[in-house]
């Protein structure tokens, strides 16, 4: 009778800490991490933009490393720490990378933004002071169809300045641009 659900293998139990909160869920073995986060935990800030691991809209941190959550099974995250865009701000305070995207207008439609931000967080962790070239290389796996990337690069530079030298120095340095339109 071609019944897909009757031939599905039994569900597995996983324990994952997501944004600091431990979760214990039954999941299908073939469930992708991105769908676990979105459909089972309701964390819809992680987006799905493609079928082939190209776009990077789904990037989250898995044990501190940026991964495309559409390339990982939920069961592979068993026992792991996952951080999504929803877990980045500390209370009322933006993470410096969120602040960078806000301040430097690093978004238009915003669909790529959570993935861009999570990739940037991982970049700045390994390389707190990246050159423009390093930024562009690090974000090569994150597609944006709206911005042309210029302001995304500026947002990353702004965030790097925030993290390493504080906002004063950033505002004085020429390469992050100055407020426009005044």
């Amino acid at each position: 009778m071609g019944d897909a659900t009757t031939i599905a293998p039994p569900k597995l139990v996983i324990q994952v800490t997501v944004n600091g909160t431990p979760h214990r869920n039954e999941v299908e073995p073939r469930l992708l991490l991105v769908h676990y986060l979105r459909d089972q935990l309701g964390l819809t800030g992680t987006h799905v933009g493609c079928d082939t691991s190209q776009c990077g809209a789904c990037v989250v941190a898995l044990n501190g490393k940026a991964v495309k959550s559409c390339t990982i099974l939920a069961v592979q995250a068993d026992g792991a720490e996952v951080q999504t865009i929803e877990g980045l701000a500390e209370g009322e305070n933006f993470h410096p990378v969120q602040q960078g995207f806000w301040e430097m207008h690093g978004l238009q439609c915003g669909f790529c933004t959570p993935g861009m931000i999570m990739s940037t967080v991982a970049l700045l962790k390994r390389n707190p002071n990246p050159t423009e070239d390093e930024i562009r290389h690090a974000l090569e796996g994150n597609l944006c169809r709206c911005t042309g990337y210029q302001n995304i690069v500026k947002a990353v530079q702004y965030a790097a300045g925030q993290i390493t030298t504080g906002s004063q120095a950033v505002n004085q340095s020429g390469n992050v641009g100055t407020p426009r339109g005044e």
Partner: protein, 784 residues
């Protein structure tokens, strides 16, 4: 609040977008909703002999399989109702992305399993997949009732073409071809629908025009429009790709028929296979000019592959035909545009709407003419470019506010500063072109400004390196708003609340914010006009029942049209407010711009548009002679936006559009064979990444007021896409001496052109007519 106009205020929607709180359509799915899955045709042309849903209905979880029999009025379209919602037994499927059945199930998995069990039997038919061949009398008919595959033939005639060529000293022929372009908005189509407590059908998705989606859905279901509510969640990009119905009507049909909340999320593959694309076009043209730099004649034939359904093809082809002579006042024009039905994916709206294809051809031809008569390409443009009062190909003067020349001059200035354009003393040989351009050209060369890069490795073939640099310049024109007599209006309501002062202002305007920031721009216009802080203004834009019709977020029109409606409504509300002690006043204004007129049969005589945006760009590229790779090093993009309502958002539009333009010029190679899409994933259809974009982009904003726009604003969203492909083509030519006339200019095509060029050079023939890669022919003759 005064001073709001122009300010780069932060986007209010950015908060939710950087925290992940913003809800896009796929984020609206709730437990208990039915999941929908479309059964696609998967073949370009076939008659449906039968649809067997029995096995699908036996699949656990499947609730229903909807077919054409369930659709009250089974036809829709933006202009012509020629597209079925679901293709019926006995009828035909006309492209691979046609929809045959819609499965509704309790889970996504069950819906997918059910869809795979729907058995459709087909009788395959010969397919028409080449637009030129589809025009032949014996071609398979895509729409039998239509009687031919010609959807539109538009002739535009100005002056006397024979006279124009007789007056010319030089005549050049060219053939250009462009391919499809996929919008690839990052958020694939998704949405939900349900019937609310008051019995109204509520559809929540992403689109570009609330009230048009509502009109089409109501018509399909046979409902009064008030019974249908269309709402937009956060929209993940659009670029014209959400103008046609894609899933809105499927959601509506299922929710209405089954009386259950439903959800539908397309994969990237479904999105690419099923929604419309930018038109592929073949443009054959012939341009004539005098030695002293007067363009005397343009003859052009534009054949556009409209695909299986009409969509907006007719309008796109009108725009392409109108711009066959670019932004130049040419006395003698004979242009013929054809929109052709084929069994390929339908073509429709995409940022630029016919202008990029037409002006790829026009701008390359102008540069070639300049080289041929030995004149600086900028100087030839200066002498012919549109000015105030210039007559369009449709024989009427341009709408006032023509800024093509100042835009070009500014671009040249910036190119001198940033690219060293035309500054260095030139001792370059005049005959480096591999296209044998003209004997006359050499004889009449003036030694004026040369486009060759003065700073780069430049003029490559004499450099030992395999990397060659070149510079190119091109202009562009694109209409703002609807054209050719299409009804154009935008309506807004402004409510003011408060005692002595305005404490709260509510602006209702049904304008989609597809990511471009229109809600912020409209808010800034309201705040400025009302003299209140932007934070005092509340925007109601995303619900067809709560906000009046502002028209579509397309044709670069929302700032001008929606903005003008908001401004006029705010002025009227303010006047009422001053006249009364009421704590609440309200004004609704419908703004209509100066009327446009339909193209007259036979000549195309008309007032086609009420506003244009003008652009000019200069680029520097580096070409690898070994791999054919082109790296764009710098882009200068100059635009007259009338007035920048929010500087940052305008720059964002320019930069973002340039990425799409660069993808179009060099990377995005959408391929279809025998009606089947070969590039249905982002792994096969390549989009520009952060590494593909130049680090140096100089957006230059001119503010030469439009007479109708709010605070003088006109649109900018599409214009950067118009000149970039020909500017890059000119830069590649500057670097290598070969002209590319096929979009996209892929490394393979560049290598092929270089090889042909070298072979020609070795032959060292004085022959003036050559054929390069793309069938581009160059003919020069002296007619005097």
């Amino acid at each position: 609040m005064r001073g709001t106009i122009g300010a780069s205020l932060p986007r209010p929607d950015a908060f939710g977008k950087v925290t992940g709180e913003t809800r896009y359509p796929a984020d609206l799915v709730r437990p208990g909703m039915l999941h929908l899955k479309v059964v696609f045709a998967g073949r370009p042309h076939a008659r449906i002999l039968g649809i067997d849903t029995a096995a699908a209905l036996r699949q656990p979880g499947v609730v229903a399989v909807l077919t054409a029999a369930d659709v009250p009025y089974n036809a829709h379209g933006l202009i012509e109702d020629d597209q079925p919602v679901l293709c019926a037994v006995g009828e035909k499927v006309r492209f691979a992305g046609d929809k045959v059945a819609l499965v509704a199930a309790e889970s996504r998995e069950a819906a997918a399993a059910g869809a795979s069990l729907v058995v459709v039997t087909y009788e395959d038919l010969p397919a028409a997949t080449d637009p030129r061949a589809a025009l032949a009398a014996d071609a398979p008919l895509v729409h039998d009732r239509h009687g031919s595959n010609q959807l539109l033939h538009l002739p535009i005639r100005k002056g006397t073409i024979e006279r124009g060529f007789a007056e010319a000293d030089i005549v050049l022929d060219g053939t250009f071809s462009t391919s499809w372009q996929e919008h690839a908005f990052l958020q694939p189509e998704a949405g939900i629908a349900e019937v609310d407590e008051q019995g109204r059908l509520v559809v929540e998705t992403a689109g570009q025009w609330l009230h048009e989606d509502r009109r089409q859905i109501a018509k399909i279901l046979g409902l009064p429009e008030e019974r249908v509510i269309v709402r937009y969640a956060a929209i993940g990009g659009a670029f014209g790709g959400r103008e046609d119905l894609s899933i809105q009507h499927l959601l509506a049909l299922a929710a209405w028929t089954l009386r259950r909340p439903v959800a539908l999320i397309w994969s990237r593959e479904e999105s690419i296979v099923a929604h419309h694309k930018r038109h592929p076009m073949e443009i054959r043209c012939r341009w004539g000019a005098t030695y002293d730099g007067r363009i005397t004649a343009v003859e052009a034939e534009v054949i556009a592959d409209g695909g299986a359904y009409a969509s907006t093809s007719a309008e796109v082809v009108k725009v392409a035909t109108l711009f066959a002579s670019g932004c130049y006042e040419v006395p003698h024009i004979a242009a013929d545009g054809y929109a052709v039905y084929t069994n390929n994916v339908p073509s429709g709206a995409f940022r630029g709407f016919g202008a990029p294809q037409a002006q790829f051809a026009a701008e390359v031809m102008v540069t070639r003419l300049a080289h041929t008569i030995g004149m600086d390409p900028v100087e030839l443009r200066r002498r012919n470019i549109y000015r105030e009062g210039s007559l369009e190909p449709t024989q009427q003067p341009l709408p006032p506010g023509v800024s093509a020349l100042p835009v070009l001059e500014r671009c040249v200035e910036e190119a001198q500063v940033h690219l060293g354009y035309g500054l260095a003393p030139q001792s370059l040989p005049a005959t480096t072109s591999l296209v044998a351009e003209s004997v006359e050209a050499d004889q009449t060369a003036t030694g004026s400004l040369t486009p060759r890069s003065a700073r780069g490795a430049g003029n490559g073939r004499h450099s030992p390196s395999h990397l060659r640099r070149g510079v190119g310049i091109a202009c562009g024109i694109k209409n703002v708003g609807y054209s050719f007599g299409y009804p154009e209006q935008s309506t807004a309501t402004v409510e003011l609340h408060g005692g002595g002062d305005i404490e709260r202002a509510v602006v209702r305007v049904g304008a989609a914010d597809v990511g471009q920031g229109s809600h912020l721009a409209l808010r800034q216009i309201a705040a400025e006009t009302l003299g209140v802080a932007p934070g005092t203004v509340e925007m109601v834009c995303d619900d067809s029942a709560e906000a009046p019709d502002a028209g579509s977020a397309s044709a670069s029109r929302m700032t001008l049209m929606g903005g003008r409606a908001v401004r006029d409504a705010a002025i009227e509300a303010l006047a009422k407010w001053r006249d009364t002690d009421d704590l609440h006043v309200e004004a609704t204004v419908q703004y209509r711009p100066p009327a446009t007129t339909p193209l007259a049969a036979g000549t195309g005589a008309s007032q086609p548009n009420y506003c244009y945006g003008y652009a000019a760009q200069a680029v520097e590229v580096e070409v690898s002679l070994l791999t054919g790779q082109v790296q764009v090093l710098r882009i200068i993009s100059v635009h007259d936006v009338g007035r920048a309502i929010n500087h940052q958002q305008v720059e964002g539009q320019i930069e973002g559009c340039l990425a799409q333009a660069l993808g179009y010029a060099l990377l995005e190679h959408f391929q279809v064979r025998d009606g089947r899409v070969l590039t249905p994933y982002l792994s096969t259809y390549l989009l520009p990444t952060a590494l593909d974009m130049p680090t140096e982009i100089v957006p230059v904003i001119l503010e030469l007021s439009d007479p109708n726009g709010p605070y003088g604003a006109r649109g900018v969203a599409e214009m950067p896409l118009v000149p970039l492909t020909p500017a890059i083509a000119a830069a590649i030519h500057d670097a290598t001496g070969v002209w590319l006339t096929q979009q996209p200019m892929t490394p393979e095509r560049i290598l092929t052109a270089l090889n042909v060029g070298t072979a020609l050079e070795k032959g060292s023939s004085n022959e003036i007519t050559t054929t390069i890669d793309t069938k581009s022919t160059v003919t020069a003759h002296a007619s005097k």
